[in-house]
């Protein structure tokens, strides 16, 4: 029960974080040069149209009042019209965000499973050849940008070996399942179409692995470091000394305390992946929010930019709450101290 309270409190904190973020976004969008009213109506429009538009957009009011109007409509789901697509920004976001979310979720899954497994393997065989291979692999994973992996994968598995599709979310000859969640793999299963599911997974493989490489490597390194540190702890020696089988010592009593730092780092990596997916979304023609955001920036499409920044901020906040939840489950010290501070 008190744990629940901790989360309600954590959630309320997040609302203030988002409020702060929206202030920053709004102020920045208003201090950049250029008249939003002029941009909205176009360069050929006569001055009186611009003046009407200024009135309509509340641009003659003070900035705090403007922010209040903006926030009020943002809360009701109205983020304005995109200059680029001439559609409500919220509709655009609804369309592009799930694609990136799906990519980031799969990348996160690969990061977590791959990172923890490689790190564990490395720690159990510390300073042996397995460990050395993993460490070199991890260094390479960290220093190589995701788009390089994207290009190499496309070349090798897409063009040379021809194993995996290189563009889009599903093959063009298939029709998308009805949109429920916006996640292709989930929607296809909900619609009972396993073939579309398999096709969607094939499309996801290369971009999500490329996106996951940095986080996976980071996760492997952190897991290895924490685990080999914990291997020297007295409680592990004590558990071994009391006759608890080695397998249980390693996979239960060592793994749980060693995951705590990894979970925190992976949380940040997953949230960052949503924003960093941009180049991969270009390479794989992935209709996602990063690509949308960069196009909006190039076109000075302020409403769309604000919406993208806000959605990325929201993703960070949500991921952080999830991380706190998982760390709280793993580590009673954090859970209990959170209760004591009340």
């Amino acid at each position: 029960m008190r744990f629940l309270y901790f989360f309600v409190r954590r959630f309320l904190h997040s609302i203030f974080v988002l409020l702060g973020l929206s202030v920053v976004i709004y102020v920045i969008s208003r201090i950049v040069p250029g008249d939003p009213a002029r941009m909205a109506v176009g360069y050929q429009a006569p001055q009186w149209v611009v003046n009407n538009m200024r009135e309509y957009m509340h641009l003659n009011d003070t900035i705090p009042v403007q922010f209040f109007y903006w926030l009020r409509s943002a809360l009701s789901g109205d983020l304005g019209i995109s200059l680029l697509t001439r559609r409500p920004v919220i509709d655009d976001i609804r369309q592009v965000f799930p694609a990136t979310l799906e990519l980031a979720l799969y990348a996160g899954l690969i990061m977590a499973i791959g990172g923890i497994m490689l790190g564990t393997l490395s720690a159990h065989h510390k300073d042996k050849w397995v460990d050395n291979v993993v460490r070199v692999f991890a260094y390479m994973g960290i220093v190589t940008p995701a788009f390089v992996f994207g290009i190499v994968f496309t070349l090798v598995f897409g063009f040379w070996l021809n194993w995996l599709p290189t563009i889009g979310r599903i093959s063009p000859d298939l029709t998308s399942p009805p949109v429920v969640t916006g996640l292709m793999t989930v929607d296809s299963l909900l619609a009972g179409k396993p073939l579309i599911f398999i096709d969607a997974v094939k499309h996801l493989l290369m971009p999500s692995i490329a996106l996951a490489m940095a986080g996976l490597s980071q996760g492997a390194r952190i897991t290895r470091a924490t685990m080999s540190d914990n291997l020297g702890k007295d409680y592990i020696a004590a558990e071994r000394a009391l006759g608890i089988p080695e397998r249980q010592v390693l996979w239960k009593f060592l793994l749980k305390p060693s995951l705590i730092p990894t979970v925190s780092i992976l949380g940040l990596d997953i949230a960052a992946a949503i924003g960093n997916a941009f180049l991969l979304e270009l390479i794989f023609s992935w209709p996602g929010v990063s690509r949308y955001g960069v196009r909006a920036m190039l076109a000075k499409d302020l409403n769309a930019i604000s919406a993208v920044v806000l959605i990325l901020g929201l993703a960070f906040v949500v991921v952080n709450i999830c991380v706190d939840l998982v760390v709280g489950i793993l580590d009673p010290r954090i859970r209990l101290s959170a209760q004591r501070n009340e």
Binding site: K126, D127, L231, G232, K233, D234, Y235, A237, A238, E239, R240, A241, L242, G243, I244, P245, E246, Q248, K252, F253, K256, P257, I260, L330, D331, P332, R333, L336
Partner: protein, 343 residues
């Protein structure tokens, strides 16, 4: 003591491989423990007491730590040559260990119950799995044996929710859960305040007495050893420098180091406080040639710097590793340690 020893550590060498070389920590350690015997292992911090005992249970952090020589016989079988399934039969059931700091010896992210049940589960004879209920009941009985109140509630607690004394008792309970023949207690209660430490030691005495468990009591306090052991081993820089029946050691010690330790014990009856033994224990990276105590020894001779003294019988049942005593049946040579007055 007659009969076969329960535990026999023969000429044990352990080194820690670190960046820049090897720390030669244990330099030929010999210890014998007979069934039901109470043995004290005394020495300064860093003398290798804990390392020796971790080697006995084969829980040194390998590959950094490496056993480079010697044998550890338990009931006549060499622990160092055992395969994991044999080792499983020894750990907990044959030999159990209470680690130095109960705060570090308990896993911080599992409840007392989760840790107890893992221990209890494997404390049984092979071939029978306990049901969840049996495990819980046994955990509760085990906790009751160490005089912990409200064991049902304790099982659901995490170590950080408990006091130091409770953690120590839980460590003792876990070590005794499988009724070991030999209990190794590494400075029990040292991290606790004095009154609690005394309670813990008395509890330990009682449990060990009741079951006739052999015990190795590791400590740096000669007072603790004097009251509760049959035989004392004195350890210095990875060597056993002297061992004797407790009463004999206190009435007549041979090794200059032991004599220094004795002089360092504050006495209630006049005298004063010793300055202790001047100097520090040598670094293990380049330990002194010959006797490792030679750089600090007031009676150092030429031979001490070149050759390592072996443990030899100085009087019946009393062994010492020192060139001051080259033959058997020696007279005690008293080393004057500087005892300042007033203190």
């Amino acid at each position: 003591m007659s009969g076969h020893p329960l535990l026999e550590i023969k000429d044990l060498y352990v080194q820690f491989n670190v960046y820049g070389g090897a720390l030669k920590v244990l330099d030929g350690v010999n210890i014998e423990v007979h069934p039901g015997e109470k043995v004290g292992l005394v020495g300064e911090t860093g003398a290798g007491k804990t390392t020796t005992m971790k080697a006995v249970l084969h829980v040194l952090p390998e590959p950094a730590a490496q056993i480079t020589g010697g044998e550890i016989l338990f009931d006549g079988q060499d622990i160092l040559k055992m395969v994991p399934s044999q080792l499983k039969q020894i750990r907990g059931k044959g030999i159990a260990m209470i680690f130095q700091d109960p705060t570090l010896a308990l896993n911080p992210v599992f409840t007392v119950g989760e840790q107890m049940s893992a221990v209890v589960q494997y404390s049984m004879e092979a071939g029978r799995n306990l049901t969840k209920r049996e495990v819980r009941e046994r955990s509760i009985t085990t906790l009751k044996e160490v005089s912990l109140a409200d064991p049902e509630r304790l099982l659901g607690n995490y170590p950080i929710q408990l006091s130091g004394g409770m953690r120590q008792r839980i460590c003792i309970a876990m070590a005794l859960a499988a009724r070991p023949k030999l209990l190794i207690a590494d400075e029990p209660g040292t991290s606790l305040d004095v009154t609690i430490q005394d309670q813990v030691l008395r509890l330990l005495d009682e449990l060990v007495e009741k079951r006739n468990t052999a015990i190795i009591l590791i400590t740096h306090s000669l007072g603790v050893v004097r009251e509760r052991t049959d035989r004392v081993y004195v350890m210095y820089a990875g060597n056993i420098v002297e061992n004797a029946p407790t009463t004999q050691l206190y009435s007549r010690s041979f090794h200059p180091y032991t004599q220094g330790l004795m002089a360092a014990v504050p006495k209630l009856t006049g005298g004063g406080v010793s300055d202790g033994i001047p100097g520090r224990m040598p670094a293990y990276l380049n330990p002194p040639q010959g006797c490792r105590f030679s750089p600090r020894c007031p009676r150092v001779m030429e031979i001490c710097r070149g050759e390592k003294p072996m443990l030899r019988e100085a009087s019946p049942g009393h062994q010492v590793a020192c060139f001051l005593y080259p033959r058997g049946n020696e007279l005690e040579i008293n080393t004057k340690w500087n005892v300042s007055s007033g203190g």
